[in-house]
Every structure is written in C-alpha cells, then in structure tokens.
Symmetry: C2
Subunit: 225 residues, 2 copies
DNA sequence: GTCTATATATCGATAGAC
DNA sequence: GTCTATCGATATATAGAC
C-alpha cells in the first residue's frame, strides 16, 4: 500500500533530510570503513538526529548500501559522457582512460568505498542488481573501440575489453586507494595537482601503447600474437 | 635491565607463541579491517589465549603494527631477489614487473592490509621507519634499469622510476585489492589461475610498451618528449 | 517527523589465582 | 606463562513523549 500523499513542503523536507543523511554517511563511511564508522558521528554531521537515520534507512547496513549505490551512479554518469564514436580508436581509447582517471581522482570517497567494499568481499554490492547491471555496460563501449582498432590493423587482437578496463581502473584507482602508503614510503603525493596533467597523459600513453600492434619492436620477449 | 635468561625450551616456546599470534592476527586483520578485527577472534585462532596477546603485544594497535611490519618485510625479500644487472633494460623491467605481480597476487593478505592502512591514512605505517626506509629502496634498482634504457636510446626519458613503480604496483595491487567488486560487476575473477600467465605477460608488455620510445607510432596525440 | 533517554550487546582490556 | 571471569567503555538500536 502506498504511503498517504503529503504536502509538498513536508515531502521535500523529507527528501532533503535523506540527502543530508546520505552525504554525511558517505563522508563517514569513506573516512573510517564500515565497522569504523559511527552512526552517532553521521547524525552529528547532519542537521537531523540519529533517530531519523533509523527512521529513513532502518539500519547501519541499509544506509551503507544506499551510500554505495549513490557513489556508483556517479561513475555511470562519467562513462556515458564520453563521446567515442567520432574519434579514431587510439583517440577514443585515450579519452575513455583519461576520463576514468579524472573521475576517480576527483571522487576519492567513491574509491575509498570501493576499497572498503572489497575488504568485505563485495557482499553488499552483490545485493544491488542496479549497480552491477548498469556499471557492466562500460564494457560494451570499450568493445566497440577495440573492434575498430583491430579491424584497422593498429591494435593487437589478444587483449579484450575487460582486460583494458582493468588496466585503466588499476591506474586510476591506485592513485586514490594507495595514496597514503605510497606517499609515506616514496614521498610523492600522487594526487598533487602539479602531477595531474602528466599522469593523465601517462594513463593515455600506457593504454594506447599496450594495445598498439608492436610486433616490430623489442618488448623483451617474443610476442604471443 | 635485561630480562633474566630462560631455559631454551621456554624461550622458543615463547617465540613460537608470538609467531602463532602474528599469523592469526594477520588473517583476522586482513579479513575484517582494523576496527572489524576482534581480539577474541584472534585468540580463538591461536593455541593460546587473549591474555597472552596483551602480555606479548600490549594492545590491539601494537599487534596490528607488528602484523604490518611482517607483511612489508615479505615485499622487500621479493624485490631483492630479482637479478636485473645481467639483463637488457627491457628484460630487466619486465622481470621486475612480473615478480611484483607474482608476489602481490600470491600474498592477498599483504594487499588487503595495505588497503586497510590507506583507509586509516597510513597512520600506523608512518610510525615504522623500518618499513619506509627499506621499501623505498625498490626505486634505486628501477632507476638503474631506466638509466641504461634511456642511454641505449630504447626508453623515453620523461618517465621516472617512481612513476614506473606506480604503474607496476597499480596493476598488481588492483588484482587483489579490487578482486571482489570487479568480479561482482564484470563476472571475471582476476585471480583465476587460468588467467595468471596471460596477466603476467600483460603487465610485462604494458610496462615495456609504455617505456619504449615510440615517437614514430601514432599514440593518438603528439608526443611530449 | 523530531527530540531525549535508555535498553541491549559487544569488545578491548585487566584482575587475580595458579 | 597460562587460565577463567569480569570490568568499563562504547556502539547499535529502540522506547516513548511531543
């Protein structure tokens, strides 16, 4: 049964409260992990109270899942924003890689949530069919670009779209996910704004160079394809 | 003042107990994160009791730091085991990349501890000068290989050793750190034994291809160097 | 929908006998 | 060094007035 309709002002107040809670929860979970996050602390970051968090979301775990779905929705939007059809395969691949790099490095909370989710073996993510189905679509775009590149004779044919997505994500994720241990050991902050342009170009170079058909060059071994 | 000497059997029993605790703690912290790990659960995984954990290590945090130092020591050993001097620059670079890939994918607990440490902004790692100093030495080896490659005219000169280490680590770490979310979304287990050889070759190809001086090839943009 | 107060459970850490 | 029992703090979740 549907809930009784409410005056618009009350409805939008409720929606605003839920948004407020989601943003505070995103910050708290990203900062402290699932077990480390405190519902009291989330409530303190909002304009409302702990009682309302349980009223709207029911439990700490359900709130965490809502946070996760919102974060993954941002990645979907970024990916669907890349226009790839009008570019050469190499240019299109570069655009996709650089856009992913740009998104992940400017949304550190998303990346930290992914790390946290992996600590828990993606048990919450698996329960959200929306996240899985929508985000898997990234592969379709990549496949079209790779197919064109292979047909044109410029790309090697033995690396598939999931592998390429893996390489791109690995580079982009590492910057955020391992920022602190990397800086502690090597003294370099990978998210330093002064490095941004060089690293954005580097991920583009890396992906395109790896896909290029380099049978003429010396790769330090005999090519497999 | 030194502790009074003890009969060897008691000493080695004590050492064995501490090792036992360290291994159980590694598994528990890697599986559940710092806040999620339970000292009671660690005790249950050992042949001894919770009281002995506090007797030997003093606190949950100090135990975690000991676990972290032990894990990083394993990486040091792997890196120092690669003989690079007798190989060509491309071959040496490939060996270093593949050895790192091999280590990280066969030591998932290490990688999960690194993820956990990053969630906490490397605050424990920073307090261990041993880890920082010893693990930073990986850069020296890489620098020598790169210098030889640039001098021979086969490597581009504008990518430094820390960047290369970053690319290698990113690929290797991603396999373990994002294994579960990646499988949940794309249906591919990156640590599937059937993919091991192909991925090991891919990280080698990726690093060497990126470093190669490809001014003649079309990378989808004009080269910066 | 919103507040204060509190139930219930759990966990890190310790006491004290042996 | 090793055991059982337990303290004290803190966290999730809820009760009940308004």
């Amino acid at each position: 049964m549907e809930p009784a309709p409410q005056p618009r002002s009350v409805q939008s107040r409720s929606v605003a409260t839920q948004q407020d809670i989601l943003e505070a929860a995103t910050a708290e979970f990203a900062a402290n992990g699932y077990a480390g996050a405190r519902v009291d602390e989330i409530a303190a970051r909002t304009r409302t109270t702990k009682r309302m968090i349980y009223y709207h979301y029911g439990s700490k775990e359900a709130l965490y899942l809502a946070v996760l779905e919102r974060a993954y929705a941002g990645v979907r939007m970024m990916e669907s924003g890349v226009e790839v059809g009008s570019l050469t395969p190499a240019e299109g691949l570069r655009q996709l890689a650089e856009a992913t790099y740009e998104h992940h490095t400017t949304h550190p909370d998303f990346m930290r949530l992914v790390s946290i989710e992996n600590i828990h073996c993606a048990q919450h993510l698996k329960r959200s069919p929306t996240i899985v189905v929508e985000n898997a679509k990234a592969i379709t775009t990549l496949e079209a670009v790779l197919r064109r590149g292979v047909a044109a004779g410029v790309f090697r044919p033995d690396v598939d779209a999931i592998d390429v997505h893996m390489m791109i994500s690995a580079f982009a994720c590492f910057h955020v996910a391992n920022r602190y241990t990397f800086e502690a050991i090597f003294g370099r902050d990978m998210l330093d704004p002064g490095l941004q342009h060089a690293h954005r170009r580097l991920i583009g170079d890396m992906v395109v160079a790896t896909l290029l058909d380099l049978r003429g060059a010396n790769l330090g071994h005999s090519p497999a394809w």
